[in-house]
């Protein structure tokens, strides 16, 4: 039997992937948009629905970034509401381990797991920036070097809390006069980042532990995922990069006593369908152009130049002014961490060689859509990635809210089902079932 593909849907995010200027683009905040996308994903038998998070609005040059879609709900609240309008779809929330505490996150995820009948997942992210910290009690309390140590201890502590109840602790037995078993929920964790003890007051959820997702790409992030995650959300969306990443991460599993199927590698990808491959390629180019408005192109360069470029013509040549390599002007998103001076040199050379304007350069250097072609082309390509060890499946990031996955569900998924590489229906009620994961490992087993 060919290897089975796992598919997930990413609600369009707060970035320029989402084309809000398209007339079909709906609300990013009305509940109806979430319902539409989640039901589409469930109709297509996707594994899960994914929500990202950002706890402070992004800023550029000290002002709120106003060019991209912004404004999103609290992830767990919306996912709990979506549990009412879906029956099988996994529900994955991104929850920050820096600006939360384990007791509260563990009880909220266990609650979602109960309220959804075993469909909860947690994308564990870390941040350390004082910029986001300004919205929270402790401010920017964490050093960058400690963000993974805190995240790892946070997750371990959450697992200890989930393990503080066994499946047999809730008795609800009027005849015996016992509601809970003695000692249920008692815990004590004495660590470097968390020193807590008491009684965890939410019984173990149907999955034991929610599915754990991790998105870091650094060596530390990969190690964290290999030790502790069920799904890794990667950004390696070419076949070659995907295979290298896949091999690297899967090879790290054995030392934690884990098999290669216990960690699913799901790159985030985009796609464009057309009636012919040429038609799809044309549409893909149009979408990239819509994603990079003249203003977005200037903002894109400003993040690298580190200075105001608003006086430059987006349809003109690259700025002749030298970059300011100081602190940077972009806040609240993944910082541009490469060598900015080298990037400027490369881009100038590319623009020179190809005769590109600022906007054309921004379009050229913005990631191309991963899968472009007819439904058949895209289905074949998805399958190739999975059968040749470049991925276990994908998290699709649509460019339109809320209809952005409709055509994938309607035209591509049936082809994958025909090939026998994607489920025709769900075979179990929980997300762990969809992902083919065994019972949750205990805190002890993951340490």
């Amino acid at each position: 039997m060919p290897r089975q593909i796992h598919l997930a849907a990413h609600f369009p995010g707060v970035n320029n992937t989402t084309v809000w200027s398209d007339p079909r683009s709906g609300s990013q905040i009305d509940f109806a948009s979430f319902v539409h996308l989640a039901r589409t994903a469930e109709r297509a038998k996707f594994d899960f629905f994914f929500l990202a998070e950002g706890l402070r609005l992004r800023e550029l040059k000290g002002r709120i970034h106003d060019l991209d879609v912004a404004g999103r709900p609290e992830s767990l609240t919306v996912l709990s509401a979506l549990a009412a309008v879906t029956t099988h779809l996994g529900l994955a929330a991104t929850v920050n381990s820096t600006f939360n505490e384990p007791y509260e996150v563990a009880r909220r995820l266990a609650s979602l797991d109960h309220l959804s009948g075993g469909r909860a997942a947690w994308n564990v992210v870390t941040s350390y920036d004082a910029f986001t910290g300004e919205n929270f009690r402790r401010g920017g309390f964490l050093d960058e070097a400690d963000r993974y140590t805190r995240a790892a201890e946070f997750l371990r502590t959450a697992r200890e809390l989930w393990d503080s109840w066994t499946d047999r602790d809730l008795l609800a037995d009027p005849a015996a006069g016992q509601f809970v078993r003695e000692g249920a929920g008692e815990f004590a964790h004495h660590g470097r980042h968390f020193d807590i003890h008491g009684r965890f007051a939410t019984p173990r959820g149907p999955q034991g532990h929610p599915v754990i997702i991790q998105a870091g790409d650094s060596d530390e992030g990969r190690e964290f995922a290999a030790r502790d995650a069920d799904v890794i959300f990667s950004r390696h969306s070419t076949l070659e990069d995907g295979r290298a990443f896949y091999k690297d991460v899967k090879s790290r599993l054995a030392k934690y006593g884990r098999g290669p199927d216990e960690l699913k590698i799901l790159p985030a990808v985009t796609y464009v369908l057309g009636d012919t491959d040429e038609d799809a390629a044309e549409r893909a180019a149009e979408i990239r152009r819509a994603q990079v408005s003249p203003q977005t192109a200037i903002a894109f360069l400003e993040a690298v130049w580190g200075r105001d470029l608003s006086g430059y013509d987006p349809d003109g040549p690259l700025p002749d002014v030298e970059p300011d390599l100081g602190e940077g002007v972009s806040k609240g998103r993944a910082q541009f961490r490469g060598d900015r001076a080298a990037t400027v040199r490369q881009w100038r050379a590319l623009a020179e060689e190809r005769g590109l304007s600022i906007r054309e350069l921004a379009i050229e250097t913005t990631a191309r859509q991963t899968f472009v072609g007819t439904a058949r082309t895209v289905a074949d390509r998805i399958d190739e990635f999975v059968q040749t060890d470049a991925a276990d499946g994908f998290i699709f990031v649509p460019h339109l809210t809320p209809g952005g996955l409709d055509d994938l569900a309607e035209h591509v998924v049936p082809l994958l089902q025909e090939k026998g590489v994607f489920r025709a229906d769900y075979t179990g009620p929980t997300l762990r079932d969809h992902l083919g994961l065994g019972p949750a490992r205990t805190a002890e087993e993951t340490s």
Partner: protein, 396 residues
């Protein structure tokens, strides 16, 4: 006759500690979505104003300000905001009011959570902020040490100063949440293709709250919710909490033990409003009652006595056991003393909730004291509150 406001307070299997043992109770379902959906739909069937959902960041307890080690009562809860969100799409009109902690939970998270509940319920979200004074609960967070108080300490200057501090912090917490809800003006999203701008950044506002306990910069990451400001409620037993409610709440739940107290407490609430310089609509004052209802005279009292022999009920609120008609008499009598309505705490679920829906509500309707059907779309509107102007919007 003006109509009463009627709310129901949901918690576990009901407010009697032996409720979970009753025939008809569903103790094994308390941690399922179906259980909460059934209860809230039952309340909506009766056209009740709202349901509140209790919560806490530690187990329930039979002793004040500490945990017990009892295993013979309901222990454990699901997160109230998530229960609220889970039931919202299965209902259409009833208000849903979860409880959160002002002591441990970040105001930013609460602000976006309740705003999101307002989006998923399309304007039916409320909120009940609550302090968490238990030292054992603070140990779940390890961020602060709270004093261990015993009942003997109640009323001492130290205990009162401690609670006053938690209330000041709670007041700051409510202020931050309310500012966050206003931090996006309603028309901040412009989608202006000509200038490439999705947002008008002049309509987004830093809240720049600086207090004794924390500071929060803002703006929210969530747009202004459908109601603008979801309904804020508070349970209050004493003057400091009446003042807390007067500063930040729209509705206050109080615990009179008779008609005279209903009048005197209402007067105390009005005094707190004057003392705090409250502007805008006065607080809607609702009286809390634990209720046991049966149609046959004497049956409810006998049932309560039977339950009390198993595990006696101790309550901050007055306990009523009687027929729906007797309860209707009491509610109308106390409301004449100044209360706008009541929050009923069913002694046993679903029995006493069903009796509210099938007995009490029809009885009040016969007397012209309760709505026949819902008229308003939002929870604020049900309490006569308009969608408020945004504090940050420039005056027109």
């Amino acid at each position: 006759m003006t109509h009463l406001h009627l709310a129901v307070a949901l918690d576990g299997t009901g407010w009697h500690p032996a409720s979970w043992r009753e025939p008809g109770a569903r103790p094994g379902d308390v941690f399922t979505a179906g259980y909460w959906t059934d209860l809230v739909r039952e309340a909506e069937r009766a056209a009740l104003d709202l349901v509140t959902l209790e919560d806490g960041l530690g187990p329930q307890s039979s002793v004040p300000l500490a945990f017990d080690h009892r295993t013979d009562q309901v222990r454990g809860r699901l997160d109230a905001v998530l229960i609220a969100a889970r039931v919202a799409p299965t209902t259409t009109r009833i208000g849903i009011v979860p409880t959160t902690s002002t002591t441990h939970t970040e105001p930013f998270h609460v602000g976006i959570g309740i705003a999101s509940l307002d989006f998923v319920s399309r304007g039916r979200a409320g909120w009940r902020p609550q302090i968490s004074p238990r030292a054992a609960e603070a140990a779940h967070f390890g961020r602060r040490v709270l004093p261990e108080l015993a009942p003997a300490d109640f009323g001492t200057p130290e205990a009162e100063a401690f609670v006053a501090g938690l209330l000041t912090e709670a007041g700051d917490h409510v202020e931050v949440v309310r500012r966050l809800w206003d931090s996006w003006e309603d028309d901040a999203e412009i989608r202006d293709a000509a200038t490439g701008r999705f947002l008008d950044r002049d309509k987004l506002h830093y809240i720049d709250f600086e207090g004794e306990f924390f500071s929060v910069r803002g703006p929210s990451i969530t747009p202004r919710p459908p109601q603008g400001q979801p309904l804020v409620t508070a349970l209050a037993h004493s003057a400091p909490i009446y003042r807390f409610a007067a500063r930040g709440a729209d509705v206050v739940f109080v615990t009179p033990h008779g008609r005279d107290e209903a009048a005197s407490i209402t007067a105390e609430v009005r005094a707190a409003e004057a003392e705090t310089g409250r502007t805008g609509a006065p607080l809607t004052v609702l009286g809390d009652l634990v209720v046991f209802l049966d149609d046959e005279p004497g049956a409810a009292a006998a049932r309560l006595a039977r339950l009390d022999r198993v595990d006696p009920l101790a309550s901050d609120a007055e306990i009523f056991a009687g027929t729906p008609a007797e309860l209707a008499d009491l509610l109308l009598d106390w409301s004449a003393a100044g209360l706008a309505g009541f929050r009923l705490r069913p002694g046993v679920l679903p029995h006493d909730l069903t009796a509210i829906a099938d007995g009490l509500v029809p009885e009040l309707r016969r007397r012209g004291a309760f709505r026949d059907a819902y008229a308003e779309d939002t929870l604020r509107a049900r309490f006569g509150l308009p969608r408020p102007a945004n504090r940050y919007a420039a005056a027109p």
